[in-house]
């Protein structure tokens, strides 16, 4: 049995969060992670620092400061021409070593899990991947809980070396309220550019078709106003062009136009897409309660008094049977190749 040499290097300082956006938007995941980071930083009595990559979103650092970040490190010229995980790992490793970080928090997705593993390997520490919850113990030791054996059990882990690296699934984390009175520092950092061992051939945007409506990023939903199954076939075309999924209200399901698994609402599924387009949906409460967390809502209905319009970021008063084909035509013009990227 190996009993390792006790190496409690709890000499680290600061809870670090790394955030990057290949698109220009600050997401809820980031804010949830920052909220969690702040909680840990307060427990540990240390500062919360966030490393962001330079993107088109210039307000992001300010928003982060308002959510309780003490220092935002803005890395410039972040290598978008290099493979993401390796390039970010190179930069992060330098920053973490320079500032002797205690904890690194990332949200859990394939990119960040990869990144965490690389950084951990480079720094001779361990990464705790895809954790569901974190607790801070004495001496700044982080206890990370993750599911094992196919989710039947959970294990609580610690890492005996600093920085303690964790990727966290952010779905269930709360988001704090921003406070404009909070201040902090924004530190510009020139990129630590290292050559990478792998090179980037191409980075492709894909909308993943998930089996689960609840995980879909784009949903086009139809209601009574669709008039029948043919309307839903057109909606499927629209969904394919946008890279999303089709959903329906109870009215459409009860009319037999679509299967029950497509239903969104109080007696159906609750969804949180980035984009929700409501076609011929009146917007009664039992439906809207299932989609109210959508980031962006577009509604099309021929009744200008429909309640759905009070929930929509963009409302179109019109006949779905005319507007839908028009939009499909426009989308086809945009993308003559159409469909998803095909390999080789």
């Amino acid at each position: 049995m190996i009993t390792p040499v006790a190496r409690h290097a709890k000499t680290g300082e600061g809870v670090w969060v790394f955030v990057e956006h290949l698109s220009a938007r600050l997401s809820e995941d980031t804010l949830a992670l920052v909220t969690e980071g702040r909680r840990l930083a307060r427990c540990a009595g240390t500062t919360l620092r966030v490393v962001v990559t330079d993107t088109a979103n210039t307000e992001e650092p300010q928003i982060l400061l308002q959510h309780g970040v003490q220092q935002v490190y803005r890395v410039h010229g972040m290598a978008l021409e290099q493979p993401a995980a390796e390039a970010y790992a190179n930069t992060l490793v330098d920053l973490l070593v320079e500032h002797r970080a205690a904890i690194l928090l990332l949200s859990s997705n394939p990119l960040y899990d990869d990144l965490a593993a690389r950084v951990a390997a480079r720094l001779q520490t361990g990464a705790m991947i895809n954790c569901t919850s974190l607790n801070l113990g004495a001496d700044g030791v982080l206890f990370a809980t993750r599911l094992i054996y196919g989710g039947r059990f959970q294990a609580t882990l610690t890492c005996s070396v600093c920085p303690q690296i964790v990727t966290l699934s952010t779905d269930t984390l709360p988001i704090s309220e921003p406070d404009p009175a909070r201040h902090g520092e924004i530190i510009q950092v020139a990129e630590y550019r290292h050559p990478t061992l792998t090179e980037l051939v191409q980075r492709v945007r894909q909308r993943r078709r998930t089996a689960d409506l609840e995980e879909a990023e784009i949903i086009v939903a139809g209601g009574r106003g669709m008039g029948g199954q043919e309307g839903f076939q057109l909606l499927q075309e629209l969904a394919d062009l946008l890279g999303g999924m089709v959903a329906a209200t109870r009215a459409a399901v009860d009319a037999g136009w679509v299967p029950l698994s497509w239903q969104v609402g109080a007696t159906g599924k609750t969804v949180h897409p980035k984009l929700y387009i409501a076609w011929g949906i009146s917007g009664a409460y039992p439906h809207t309660v299932g989609m109210r967390d959508s980031e962006t809502v577009i509604a099309i209905n021929k009744d200008s008094n429909a309640p759905i319009f009070s929930l929509a970021d963009l409302g179109i008063v019109g006949d779905v049977r005319e507007v839908l084909p028009a939009i499909i035509r426009h989308l086809r013009q945009e993308k003559p190749s159409g469909g998803e990227y095909r390999l080789y």
């Binding site: 993943r208 929930l311 963009l314």
Partner: protein
Amino acid sequence: MESIVCIKQVLDPDCQLELSKGGQERAQFGTCCRWFEITQPRYTLNPYDRVALEAAVGLREQTGRGQVTAVTIGPPRAQAVLHYALAAGADQALHIWDNALEDADAYLTAMVLAHAIRRLDCDLIICGQRSIDTGIMCVAAKIAETLALPYICGVDALELADRGSIIAHHCLDGAWDEIVRCRLPAVISVGIRMNQPRYPNLRRYRQALKTDIPILSLDSLGLTTEALKVAGPVIQIWDVSASRRLPRRIFVPGSHLPVDKRTQLILSGGIRSRRGQLICAPAEHAAGEVMRFLRERGLLQGD
């Protein structure tokens, strides 16, 4: 194409697993097995490693030359996965075990694997992206770092390119995929969807069962327990318990709002009204507006 596939024998997740009543007094390194009472243990090859084997065998068939070596670190019962590997097309099998490795975590395992692989001649080292028991995804990254080799994680598709390179496709997150190229020798970890592993050949399986695969100890690899102590496992397991259902995020009105407003929000389910634009226009114009709106927000595919 000389390839090395790192495989792992895991506890079959469908087998009867119960937490042992006594619990553990102190933290453990390494595996979670000590927390469980396993009445009828059933072991299997990690499904991701099955995919890795198939990838290696496929590459050998494609290039028409080279050998596939399957390596595992595990107690004597782990010979079973090596037999499977030989039956599935591997040419050689390596079994490494030492009692000192009983408490090894993923990092220590990776270090030992790297050490063993360093002595072998190879072009490509293939691992499964994760293991289904404890699911730590770090072995491949650690091997790559220890051997200073290029590493691509979660490969979904692989192609051999010219000048001794490979081109691999992997996902970054829900929205982005990358196509990456690197020179060989390299390390890759494969995602579960990369291929469909073939059924092992029965004749080969019978032959494999007759082969006695020697178990290499740490000494024969030139590793001392002292060296391992210094490297040491880093991840400690404090507790294993039954999993709890993950909480769902529910709407909670902001605490800065007055009580009546909060009550109203709770009752209405937090549906917030949005001050959006309302457009009454002919269909063509409306469609144009929607396109403009989507484009502005970066919601169109290909943005």
